[in-house]
């Protein structure tokens, strides 16, 4: 009994007021956690396209577009009008993007548009298709269509 009364006395002496220092510690830890997480965020972006044959027709005369074919083989090799460009391991596709940019600039000079058709083989990886779309975005080409199978 003696021991219990001693305990009661001790607890009554404890200050139960709001402690600011531990709260700031906790807030700092939570803040740090979210700051680190924020650097690792994956943002979901998109490549927009319109399916052919469903767009509204215009009555104004339109220059026929310069058609370009990009073929993607099963192993990831990319061909621009039958010319192999970049190695299958190269994800940035600098040669393809450079060639497409030149083609787009020459089309702009002749006041026509560029139309790119992507022929992706059945077993080519979708990642490779997106890499080609990425190169097209860098070359500022927006007229893109898809075709199943090879152009031959």
């Amino acid at each position: 009994m003696k021991k219990r009364s001693h305990k009661r006395k001790q607890s009554s002496e404890v200050n139960l007021g709001f402690q600011i220092a531990p709260m700031i510690d906790v807030v700092f830890v939570i803040l740090l956690y979210f700051m680190v997480m924020a650097g690792d965020i994956q943002v979901e972006n998109a490549h927009n396209t319109k399916l052919p044959g469903t767009q509204e027709e215009t009555k104004e005369p339109v220059n026929l577009p310069d058609e370009i074919a990009i073929r993607i083989e099963d192993d990831g090799q990319v061909y621009l009008n039958d010319d192999p460009l970049d190695s299958p391991e190269n994800k940035a596709l600098p040669e393809l993007a450079g060639s497409l940019k030149q083609l787009r600039e020459s089309s702009d000079n002749s006041k026509s548009t560029v139309l790119v058709t992507i022929y992706a083989n059945e077993l080519a990886k979708y990642q490779r298709v997106i890499e080609v779309l990425d190169a097209l975005t860098r070359a500022k080409i927006s007229n893109v269509t898809f075709q199943a199978g090879s152009p031959d």
Binding site: I20, M23, I24, V27, F28, I30, L31, F34, M35, M37, A38, I41, Q42, V43, E44, N45, A46, H47, N48, T49, K50, L51, G53, T54, Q55, I72, K91, A120, N121, E122, L123, A124, K125, Y126, Q127, R128, V129, I130, E131, L133, D134, T137, R138, F146, A148
Partner: protein, 144 residues
């Protein structure tokens, strides 16, 4: 010309209240940006990486409808998932997409496919989207 700070006598005190205000604002900011982005990512598929893909149009957000295509290693094919439900028969999707198009004329289908999915499967789902009369397609990609 007293140099700023308090204006009173003695040393300027460290003010705890404004510091807590700033801390909480920072905290709320980081909580919001992390949770907002995480919600959009389906962890069961790995989106292809495309650093130059455009940011999604916020005006079109209400017209967007996601079609998920997970990679099935066993069959080397795509696994179609719509509204968290795996669709075994892809033909069932056609009337569903047609109804969606009827309800919203500006409908945009966001194809969220795993980077490993064969391109043939993407063309297959594009065929269905085209048959449903939907012309606006967007391919989701991750920034890193």
């Amino acid at each position: 010309m007293a140099g700023g700070g308090g204006g009173g006598d003695g040393e300027p005190e460290f003010q705890i209240a404004p510091m807590i205000d700033v801390l909480l604002v920072l905290l709320v900011f980081f909580v919001m940006i992390t949770s907002a982005e995480v919600l959009k990512v389906d962890k069961k598929l790995t989106l292809p990486v495309s650093p130059n893909a455009k940011e999604r149009d916020k005006d079109m957000a209400k017209h967007e409808f996601a079609v998920n295509l997970r990679f099935d290693e066993a069959t080397n094919k795509g696994l179609l998932v719509i509204d968290d439900e795996i669709k075994q028969n892809w033909n069932d999707v056609l009337p569903f997409l047609q109804d969606k198009k009827k309800a919203d004329n500006k409908l945009r289908v966001v194809v969220r496919a795993d980077g490993k999915v064969p391109a043939g499967e993407i063309q297959r789902i594009m065929n269905f989207i085209g048959q449903a009369g939907i012309d606006d397609i967007s391919f989701a990609a991750s920034n890193k």
